[in-house]
Symmetry: C2
Subunit: 337 residues, 2 copies
């Protein structure tokens, strides 16, 4: 009996080992399990990650005074407590304006692992991306000068920038966005899936391992690969048109390609797809099979993939809510109009 | 020389002791300096403070899904990082609606020490107050049933309520508001001023002590007294009408009385007065002298009082940003209209 249990364990372990190997072959990669490797991977050589920048970037990310109205922060639409998004089908910003293209807010978690930012991939990295929503009229609606004037008017912010970048720092709009990006680069969420790929063969249950196998075997990894299980530009509606394509006018980039969203923390970022028209994970999985792979996934296969996807819920960094340095009479007035 | 220094120290100490005594006589009271005394003072016997309720209350306070739109939380207008308010002259809520009476958001910090809540004092305590903005059309705009349906649809929230109140808990709208209030009851900010009144004679600088004396001698403590240095209902515009009374239609309660705002953390809660029409603390101090005390405060007296008021900036509780339990397909849909 003992021998049987032992050999079953060995077999399970071998299966797990082989599955991890299959995952690697399919292009899936774990979040590194050492701080050093993770820092090397996520730090931008042109703007290296430091503790002072991360802390300042966090405060800026959360501060609604970076918006024209003083009401909207990066965290309003990319809420770190709501899976890094806002739970809306179409983002709402300045003056209660819905996104003009009907686009939802992608999660900020693990966005550092994307090759491109925004749904149409028009931005190469987070430093560039962070400049967009702050200025965009339907989002935070703040002209560059407003943002730099606000920050430069607050002595404690100036002191924090000096601490982060040296005494001669010029606090430009780009520097502010760079600092926000450094914080965002720390928003990675290792999960049991990563533990599994990093060698802990018991980190995923058998049902989750089976789901991962189904995920690979069915071809989901064609697009959902890399560390983010997404993040590259891919054709959308390959074998059939997306059933809610008529909601909003988004058609992808100039070649019709769409940036693949990460599957990490996917249970926390409904509703799904670029225009947030799919409410449940099972429907999203089946629609993907239909329009990207040309297959009909059975209920059992769908459930199995869903079981795996739930194991991608990650461990979030602890974020202490910032006490923002106070405005003063020289701080530009907020303007809700 | 030594004797002179010693006698100067003794004299300063006597002066400080006498000032603290004058402050007590003028109705000023410190935040207690022991956890036990503070808990006794801030806990509601009908809904006693417990760790489980505080933690749950914090999550609810920060969760924008308590609003109809899913975009606005208690923290949107009573931002714990912005002195417990929003920096706006008139609060903005659902569908970008400004407060119809032109009223600003009072700070949540130390509101537990108020005898009445809201600018017109219509609410007796935080448990009652918390029910208002969640439902108010221009604020969070959520019907009671929406809020209870959202919370009851999320198993992790239900589990947290059971942990806080026992397995048979009925998660009503009132219970949700009660829980938010328990969290708010912990938002107190002891300052060097409290240390001084609690016996540390060196906690305030001489200039701050002088400012406190001016504050008392000029009669500011007539209204700004108690632990909150405010929080009771008082006549407004006693000796002259407020110069911005025409902005908004607020006229106080049925007797024309207005709830006196706390002076704690006052440097962080500009713009000032119920309609946020005064940008600077010095102007606010002078206007108060003119319309409440019928005196013209000199620049030196104004500056001295301001120096004291700055010492009311308090130590904030550390707040770890919550990871909200995820919505699911049974959670009521958010509605931005």
């Amino acid at each position: 009996m003992k021998a049987f249990v032992l050999s079953a364990l060995v077999a399970a372990s071998l299966m797990a080992g082989s599955l991890a190997s299959d995952a690697h072959k399919a292009g899936l990669k774990p979040i590194p399990d050492t701080k050093k490797a993770l820092l090397k991977l996520t730090s931008n050589p042109a703007n290296p990650t430091t503790c002072a920048k991360v802390e300042l970037g966090k405060i800026l990310y959360m501060d609604p005074r970076l918006s024209k109205s003083g009401l909207i922060s990066c965290n309003s639409c990319h809420n770190v407590g709501l899976g890094g998004s806002d739970g809306m089908s179409s983002a709402v910003g300045h003056k209660w304006t819905s996104n003009p293209h009907g686009l939802s807010s992608p999660t900020v978690y693990n966005a550092v692992f994307y090759s491109q930012q925004f749904w149409d991939g028009r931005s190469p990295h987070l430093e560039d991306q962070a400049q967009g929503p702050i200025q965009a009229g339907p989002e935070m609606a703040a002209p560059k000068e407003h943002v730099t004037d606000v920050i430069n008017s607050i002595p404690q912010y100036v002191a924090m920038f000096k601490q982060a970048y040296g005494k001669t720092v010029n606090i430009t709009f780009e520097k502010i966005a760079d600092t926000i990006a450094v914080f965002e680069r720390t928003l990675v969420t290792p999960s049991r899936y990563d533990d599994f790929l990093n060698g802990d063969k018991t980190a995923l249950t058998k049902a989750e391992q089976k789901g991962l196998k189904t995920f690979i075997d069915k071809g989901c990894t064609t697009c959902h690969n890399g560390i983010a299980l997404g993040g590259t530009m891919q054709a959308f509606g390959v074998t059939a048109p997306y059933k809610h394509m008529d909601v909003g006018d988004f058609k992808g980039d100039k070649n019709g390609l769409v940036r693949v969203p990460t599957l990490r923390n996917i249970t926390q970022t409904a509703p799904y797809f670029h225009n947030g028209q799919i409410a449940t994970l099972s429907e999203a999985i089946q629609e993907m099979g239909r329009i990207q792979l040309g297959i009909t996934l059975s209920d059992a296969e769908t459930a199995s993939i869903e079981t795996f996807l739930k194991a991608l819920d990650g461990r979030k960094p602890e974020i202490i809510y910032p006490m923002f340095p106070a405005s003063n009479p020289t701080t530009p007035k907020i303007n809700v109009n």
